[in-house]
Amino acid sequence: MIDPAYSPQEARGIWVFLEHDAGVLAPVSLELLAKARELATESGAELAGLLVGGDLSALEATTARLDLDRVVSVAHPLLTQFTAEAYAHAVDQVIRQQKPDIFLLGATAYGRDLAGRLAVMLRTGLTADCTDLALEAATGLLLGEVSGFGGGVLATIRCEQHRPQMATVRPGVFPEPAAVDRAAATIDRPAVDVPAAKCPVKVVARHRKTGVDISRAERLVVAGAGARGEMPSIEALAQALGAEIGATRVAVDEGWAERERQIGQTGVIARPKLALVWGASGASQFTCGIDQAEMVVAVNQDPEAAIFESADICIVDEVAPVVKALVAELKSRGGVE
């Protein structure tokens, strides 16, 4: 076995990495905190939120009012902008000092970068992209549920002898917590050493998302020929779901969507988690563009439509009333994160 940085016997507490940008905490961090609170209550462990950055004064005040027991705030000028090397160097020091038992991070680019480097520095186990977390009844060990093979296989992973037990969790897996009203939690500010030599990478520029690129969309609402006249509802649905709009070739030809939104062999091969396909016949030149979706919902009034071969949920009906009904449900019962 490879020697752990510290033993399970020395390890205490559940930590959650509180990712932030421009003074705002990442939603996944809040989701994780809520789940971690459940686990901490079950095991009686202390729950701490880890903040890392340049000037954390404003964020400290916000996070101290969240449902956690302690804030560990690690500030250093060279940590103002995230780079994996600098953040890992700083967090490694703090973890070795304080020896948490469990360390959870959101499976964002930054979260995965940081977790990936830390796991090697600490010689510990890291379970990626968990779709659920639990504590093993007999041992109190963290159990991470993950999927592999394109979502076809589910595995439960545990890390027995090494600490901290690390896991990353996808955004949207756990619900956001309800707001709490509480007195501010303790804020610890451990000092860290961050020499310039440990920050080799420079962030030269950052750009927020603009322009149409549906290839990265996690959620897609797709308009086919059968969606004629229903684009306003399609757009409302996409908005309510935080989804991008995609289109079949026919829909693009008709001018209902830009060519950049065309899905399929000569368009975009998308890899969404969720695809809702409205009024598309399902020709193979189209379906190859959504075949990698985890879940496909298809609505078409033709019961023979090929799209039903490629869908998890099939509705044989006209597009118009069904899309309107779904939009109405989303309005009345609340949108999804």
Binding site: M1, I2, P4, D21, T83, A84, E85, T108, A109, Y110, R112, D113, R117, V120, R123, T124, L126, A128, D129, D132, V146, S147, G148, F149, G152, V153, L154, A155, T156, R158, C159, G172, V201, V203, V204, A205, R206, H207, R208, K209, S215, L241, K273, L276, E294, M295, V297, D312, I313, C314, I315, V316, D317, P321, V322, K324, L326, A328, E329, V336
Partner: protein
Amino acid sequence: MTRELHTLVCLKVVPKSEEVGVDRETNTLDRANARSEINPPDMNALEAALALKDRFGGRVSLMSMGPPFVIPTLRVGLAMGADHAYLLSDRAFGGADTLATSLTLARAIEKLGDVDLVLCGEESSDGATAQVPPGIATWMDVPQATYAMDVDFEPGQRHLVVTREVRDGEEVLDVPLPAVVSVKVSCNEPRFMDAARFALLDSEASVTTWTADDLGVDPEHLGLAGSPTSVAGLKEAAQASGRRREMVSGTPEEEGRILYDRIVEFLRGAGARGQEAPG
């Protein structure tokens, strides 16, 4: 650059995801009938490496950890334009989680001694952890740039300019070499291989196989022994056997309601576990 750029691409030969199942009796992976392919993001990594070679010259090596039966698949990478392939093959490597895997690859890369840039796909289609590229970088104590969509190189300077995808958009990084870069799947279109070269490739000459002994790594740090994590349980996910094709019918209002429930359930990740949808 005073010497030519040597790029090393980590390639994993994986079973085609849709053809892998779980043996319901033993609850272990059943990949007996699954065809092999090069992990799709690794094809993008190889294309990125070959594009750099087109522009700046130098060499592209492939490295893969796996059993000897992956060699024919590695020839595909050579036929695309890579110069040599290294196969890390030893029973001792088996059962490795990402910590042991990234250590094995890192030590093999260091053994080559002159690698400037390690290119990987962002994650593999089987495990999908995305942890190996940062793992390799950390074992080698070099910087990393993950989820790259574009990798540019300044000839004459030992650094890369990498555009990568982050949570709310993208950022541009200046990364000194040597470094490890992982690329987003579909960030480019992998060039088709030279079919004539593929037919003529002599594996003996183009593929070097290394065992655990060749790497000189403590056996306690390899394979199952070197893996802090273990699999406690395995099962087939609900939608594994093709598409569910669940018919939903009723009035449009009923259909809308059921769709809402299914969508919320799915987004909570509960689809496979059959948990009740909130709200």
